[in-house]
Symmetry: D2
Subunit: 397 residues, 4 copies
């Protein structure tokens, strides 16, 4: 992570990010904000509290004179996974925390916000502090995306198909034609290079050798993917990684997560805007790595490596459509430390490093990613079977 912005800008940015989290909860009832639909997802209320806990624990507790916690139990209750901080509430039971209620969590946010702004005011020149604050804001933006993915998953369990937001944006009627962009091989420098913020997992910048490759100009669409289904893709073992095939045989993998065939045989998709007829022109999303890989094999292509994706994005990314803002794009790269990677000391070192096993990297960003949050070197990561994120497919060959 690098040094950030000037003090005033930092305070303004702090307020913007913090307010946006609350705004995301705007269309939701307190009940919506409390439920947890599965162990991998968290209640909105928990996200709102945990991001606040992050500032309170990693900044106020260390830097505020006469620090007193807002509530003594919150230190454990809203710790996500930082063993360096101590005990934590069991992840799968976050939905049972009906108290504190949303009202108290809102108070918690306001209290911490006020104390943070006072602290920032009194330590205007402190670059290390500013760096921590920026990390906290980036952290909160990650949770802003999770708020949307987790709410979508929760609402999808509801037989009434409730919408998070009834107003559905207009989409183009057709997808652009898919073409291929070629890239020369050779040595490429991979990892964050600019002077702004990045996460530690984007560093150190290092060299990789790439063979020549091509990348698809756009994402795979719902229409493309429907052709795969209709061609029997889910029933052809030769297309699948063994683990994915086991899921297909068990009947738990038959189509993207939020697709459903209605009584008349028409495909529908549940979205943040309710359930609608499947839009064939939109990028397919909510697929696992297994599905992405099987689709690619069926299409005579493959998934890109994360280095290919990044090198392509930097070299002539302009001709590649939908690199950002639609859905995260599965790569074939397992999530691993870059050569020379070292997490920072202390509990914050747990932010990324300890998850570098049995996960796969997704590149780009999605419709749920806050503006300005992602970049070409950004590494998102999830287990190969995860489908509740906005995860899609870009082909390579």
């Amino acid at each position: 992570m690098r040094a950030p912005l000037d003090p005033e800008l930092l305070c303004r940015r702090f307020g913007e990010v913090r307010r946006r989290s609350l705004a995301l909860a705007g269309p939701l009832s307190d009940e919506d904000c409390t439920a947890q639909s599965m162990a991998d997802a968290s209640p909105v209320k928990w996200h709102l509290a945990h991001t606040t806990w992050f500032f309170e624990t990693f900044i106020l507790e260390r830097h505020e004179a006469g620090f007193k916690p807002f509530h003594p139990a919150f230190r454990v209750l809203f710790n996500s996974y930082y063993n360096g901080i101590g005990a934590k509430h069991p992840r799968a039971q976050r939905g049972l925390v009906t108290r504190p209620g949303m009202a108290l969590v809102r108070d918690y946010r306001l209290d911490v916000d006020a104390r943070m702004l006072r602290l920032l005011d009194s330590r205007a020149g402190d670059a290390a502090l500013a760096e921590l604050v920026v990390l906290g804001l980036q952290h909160e933006q990650q949770h802003q995306e999770l708020i949307l993915t987790d709410v979508l998953h929760l609402l999808a369990q509801n037989p009434l198909y409730p919408a998070y937001d009834e107003a559905r944006p207009a989409f183009p009627a057709s997808a652009p034609a898919l073409s291929w962009r070629g890239f020369d091989g050779g040595l490429a420098d991979i990892g964050y290079a600019g002077g702004g913020f990045c996460f530690d997992n984007e560093l150190p910048r290092h060299r990789q050798y790439l063979a020549p490759f091509e990348l698809a100009s756009r994402l795979v669409t719902n229409g493309d993917y429907l052709a795969f289904i209709e061609a029997g893709g889910y029933r052809d073992a030769s297309l699948w990684l063994s683990e994915g095939w086991d899921q297909a045989c068990a009947g738990t993998l038959e189509h993207p997560l939020y697709w459903r065939r209605d009584d008349s045989g028409q495909w529908r998709e549940f979205t943040l805007h309710g359930e609608h007829a499947l839009d064939l022109a939109l990028p397919v999303t909510h697929v696992s790595l297994y599905e992405a890989d099987a689709y690619a094999r069926w299409a005579g292509a493959r998934l890109p490596t994360e280095a290919e994706w990044e090198a392509a994005a930097l070299s002539h990314g302009g001709s590649l459509l939908q690199m950002h803002g639609h859905c995260w794009q599965w790569t074939s790269s397992s999530y691993a430390p870059y050569p020379g990677y070292a997490p920072q000391p202390g509990a914050l070192g747990e932010y990324n490093g300890k998850f570098m096993v049995n996960q796969y990297v997704l590149r780009g960003s999605s419709c749920a990613t806050p503006d300005g949050h992602a970049r070409a070197s950004y590494r998102n990561f999830f287990p190969a079977g995860a489908r509740w994120q906005f995860s899609g497919i870009r082909l390579a060959r």
Copy 2:
């Protein structure tokens, strides 16, 4: 079930029972009412809706002219287990139904109440209808008890130990001395005999032969049970049914459900009124049949059969303390149909009969049972391992 009350009384009774359910939710936030702490428990909101569904489905749908459902999805959503009605929402996912919210469920209750009262007014002389209404009210009273047991279980998962009701009633400082009441054996008539309401599982009244027996004059107290713990009761295999011993060895059975030893080694108990130092004079509660049986064996006694309990209650119940209003009392009787038992035809026949396997009968009533709901012939039933009900121990020998 027998014919009930006069029309006006029925309407008044209807209002009282229905209002009491809402009153029970009074101290709770909407968030509290939405969460489900385990598959065996249900959200308060679900109880409020399901009891309303019962009237709408079994009475209005059949008897209301021009019946239209309050919401077409509720028929499935709030069906508990009536296969005769059709599909039902998966039990373990009741906590994910954040919509309808509490506000809409309150509207649902008011709407059904108004329609019910109109129907009752128009069909004042209809004994069959009145009988159905009484069944619905008795059903709702059963759920009133479950509202309290389920909320207690939910709050017990919360590390903040929140109270349902801070105001703790005064309790006597000491328990009465335990003595034994003898009963002659012989033929006893078992099952409901009066002219009022009873559930179908209390019938037919039939004859059983009982050997002479004695019943303890009062319930086992927390203090009695603590002596069992301190004597190593949970570590002595010879006291336990095999299934219970397996749980004890696995470390999942060490003390009554809501007991906890604090850092200073003092026993505390979580209750609807928050967590307090263990009150030794109160009846022990929230124990499984395994624990009740092991305690009885340790004490040189046994659990009563349900016929013994009922015969004693009817013959000179007056000298037996705490038969009602403290906690349900495990019997050694498995829940089985009485000789000649036949459930009523149709979906309402599923009320009791289909659960008559692998459950054990509890007699009496608890502090959570609505006034006037229970009687000597009342048969409550739960699996041998259940502990979240107000279940305690009365010894026999």
Copy 3:
């Protein structure tokens, strides 16, 4: 248990029973004898060793001068469930004990047999000892039945459908007509009354009041049961106990355990004599209590209680066909202690008592029961879902 036979007879009986266990293993390879098909079943080798362990531990260890164990590790390895004896090898891992091999287990049997016979010779007048020996022999006979049920289950997992014994006995071509035998109600004395051996769970003899009832003259046949299947019995929720219906919905309960419909739609049954076309005249067997209960309800009848079965067997059992030697008959009675029941002190007290919860009583005896082992008061017991025993259906009403 009561005092047994004269010394010489006891020795002869000892030899007969012990040899029969080995004879049962005769058609099996060492490999067959080692495998364990599920946690509920045990390898034949384990049965042969455990029954030997019973004599070594409960008799030789206590009564043999200068006792030395055959192998020091066997005390733990072949302990089934006696906590009073100490540690035991995990039940689900019995199939992994490839050493000792069958050869050593045979040596173990011969060694213990020789020592037992020497002991019996030297203590010819010792009634207490003789009683223990008889218990050990009865215990071994129970395991002889389990050897057959467990081997059948093991072979049924094998896609080659191997037979335990190719020679199939001749069966009658048709079943006798089913008629009903009536029994007067009144007080009946239940429990073992003779001067011979019985298990402790058959005592104390005690009085029960029975309402008048009728019992079917014969068992339900495969043909009867097939009619139930063809009438949609497995798809009609109104016939089932709730737990059974859950299994039927999950697709794990569709027909008796060893039935299979072949590619041409014909029903076949796997037996100890290999797989054959379903014989409609034979009693249906390998059904759970859930299936027995659903069938009875469909047939307009019910299952008998164990007291009814016993009273009928004793009053005019002669007119009731197939009471013994075909299959065990599910009753609606949960396995519970008789009034006044007390297990014997020490580890042998674990023989029966600690299993008296969540199991149901079966009466009669099966084709796998050793001759002379069962009697009218005999109480077999298994969980309601168990199907790998020779369990069938006799109707009552």
Copy 4:
């Protein structure tokens, strides 16, 4: 895969490899060969049959005139995971196949061997056939290693600690000092380059860029690893990947798989030669990737990538001790296709490719690897939690 040896040599080689498999079963009883200790392991008998099935299915079925299967059921019974061949027997139930017995499996081997030799004799010049035969032999050698790892796991479940082979080889009393070997970075060619046999996953040979690195001159010893344990390594969250820490907290990860502390507190290790006092000078083995990674972090080092390992082995491998023949060495590289990798068409294409997810590469070879089987480019792979293989640790930095 490349073209192999001359015809006579091929036949001789065929005989040697096939006989060695049987020789490995030499110290085992038929019972030992039948049991399956966990779903990940297979019975020895199954290994012996499956390797034979491979020749019968992929060679004889396609090339033998008038092919008739040895047994029609074996095609399904001994198919491991080739969906292209059709149905397969469930993996977790391999231990229940007591029939065919070992005698018939030996006959199966002899029959297929004779037919294979006849075929090879008649098709002496057929390079494609020879290539298939070599693949079958390499496949069988892989199963020879599994025979030993699976038998070790089976015997380790036995409370008698039986030895596969009592004769324990002599080991050096002390390990050589650990030093570091440096390697220049730069472009390296990775993947098999010679003219002999390799598996498809070692191809295509391709270029990778490596930063300069150092490799430890020898493997981590039991003594080294014991120091990690004694320093509290298993209780220090900061050393662990999150998944590994979860296992450590659950108490399922406390020391290498076959270590045990006896009653006197001394560490012992179970091996193919029985249980012995822990030999501190030997390489630590039977550790998971989680443990290898945590140890490396504790030692201020890291695990090598597979490219580093291979480049080091080829550049000046001579100064690196214990690269082969002791234990497989975890790398930090997830098992993924090399750039341009394409499995061969048909069922044989399932050999490697479909497993390229959620597994990690191990390099080198172990004491259980057949002589001449491994090479510098060889890629072994297992899930991060696997411990029953001979898996150890070589440090990098």
